[in-house]
Symmetry: C2
Subunit: 299 residues, 2 copies
């Protein structure tokens, strides 16, 4: 452990344990990841990957057609046709969301949608509960009958429907007062305490895999709901592209930990009851949105 | 409602309802606050208020001597003697914490503590469960037997002890591996999803009342645990002072909503089941760390 950390780290040290030390205790998250195999990881479909280039850096987002097929199809079309390029992030509300889209107030000045649809059905949840697809966590979820993961996304179900939950990094499609008023042009990412009250009220479409720090640090807007009051305060979108539409050399290379494996279950347990020496009290519990899903660059 | 919000607000509109509309439904948070009386608000003791001046703006923090009397006493001494002035924020880890203190790696170069104590007992929780002081919320908390509020702070209890919970904005005292290795010089503020696994593992000492946006937007450090790799990346602390030690004109003027009133209960209910027209699904639940505690400037 670097010397300076001994003075300043305080709080959370994920150092590897000395070998031999962990026979008697649970493994740490770092140890479990270290022992993972190729089968524990998946490479996201480039047709489901959005690359968001901002002046401060790149965020990579995975779309979830399982939950919102029509929104995802429209978002793909919008991205392929460069809809967001040159638009901006228009809102950053502390402990809530950042949001981007067309800031034009006058519909006559709104950016044309190209071949994307102007109208979509609400896709707040997917009908039914597929036991095969839904990988539950044992912990009780206050917001639903059962929480877990589906295809790598945090999810919840009441057994009649299943939805992609609002956790840190969740991508959603903003809407107005009508349930079916989102078309995927206005997108938001959760940057604060999981706003699960939005679950079943709005269409969630994906999750940020990498580069959250380029969204979460954006200055908070001082207007109502965190909108920027002056156009120059907005963050320009350099490019928002679908990875599959990019030249091979420009596509992000990353792998995501599968959420339907024994390795993932072990990781959740390592977070539920921390085996790091630093932890004196084991929580014996974890909330859905406290469970991280690892992303790595392939070797 | 401003016109531009009709195009871009999407997500969460806290517009006042037309009069007459809310006889039949629950009041909104805005309406409840509007109807609050002077007795619903309290003025924090200036001996419990820290004023943190950063180049980007001011954060105001309320200390919680109820939970950590020895740490709070030491922090008061450190603040009065200007311990943190000229030191820096040395860590910003995405979706976790910012942390400040003395970045010196060499103990020989560490800033002297003045008349503050170098050693304090661990104060992870207060012994016992005082039914009079603890104002519970009805919702089940996965991390404790019961969650609620004590003196305006989010809290939890197992009935043997009561602690200040780790929510967005909670202030804690960093420690090393030994439970009693914190002395209040290293302080952190939660800037991400509530890390409740830290509860009962570290001493929590207060809560940010105002100016969280000056902490939450700090660039994330790229070193281990979000420490900045270069000294020039740190954010200097212009001043960290106790409000009671400031000239009257420089003290923050603010009032905090009491958490032991019918008004507060009504607010929690308004968050548990949103009555805003935008919400189609009422969650019927709220997590402790999703409950906001309002702060206002007195009229």
């Amino acid at each position: 452990m670097p010397t300076r950390l001994t003075r300043t780290a305080f709080i959370l040290v994920l150092a590897a344990l000395p070998s031999g030390a962990y026979a008697a205790k649970g493994k740490t998250m770092a140890e479990i990841l270290e022992a993972s195999t190729a089968a524990d990881w998946r490479t996201p479909d480039p047709d489901n990957l959005l690359v968001l280039d901002l002046p401060g850096g790149r965020a990579v987002i995975e779309l979830a057609p399982y939950f919102a097929p029509e929104h995802v199809a429209n978002i793909r079309t919008l991205a392929r046709e460069g809809y967001w390029n040159g638009l901006s992030i228009n809102r950053s509300q502390d402990n809530f969301v950042v949001q981007w889209g067309d800031p034009a107030e006058d519909p006559a000045q709104a950016k044309p949608l190209g071949s994307a649809k102007a109208k979509l059905p609400a896709e707040f949840a997917r009908a039914g509960y597929d036991k095969t697809a839904f990988h539950p966590v044992q912990d009780r979820d206050g917001w639903s009958k059962r929480a877990g993961f589906v295809q790598g996304f945090p999810a919840a179900t009441d057994r009649k429907r299943t939805w992609l939950a609002h956790c840190y990094g969740t991508l959603g499609a903003g809407r107005g007062n009508e349930p079916d008023s989102s078309n995927g042009t206005e997108l938001y990412v959760v940057t604060g305490q999981s706003p699960r009250q939005l679950d079943l009220n709005i269409t969630t479409v994906g999750r940020v895999l990498q580069g959250m720090e380029h969204l979460s640090v954006l200055p908070r807007g001082t207007g109502p709901l965190g909108f920027y009051e002056k156009p120059e305060q907005r963050t320009p979108i350099v490019r928002l592209a679908l990875a599959s539409a990019l030249p091979d050399a420009e596509r992000p290379r990353l792998e995501v930990l599968r959420t339907d494996t024994a390795t993932f279950d072990a990781l959740v347990e390592a977070r539920r009851n921390r085996s790091d020496d630093w932890y004196l009290h084991k929580a014996g519990h974890i909330d859905l949105c406290n469970i991280p899903i690892s992303v790595r660059s392939p070797k």
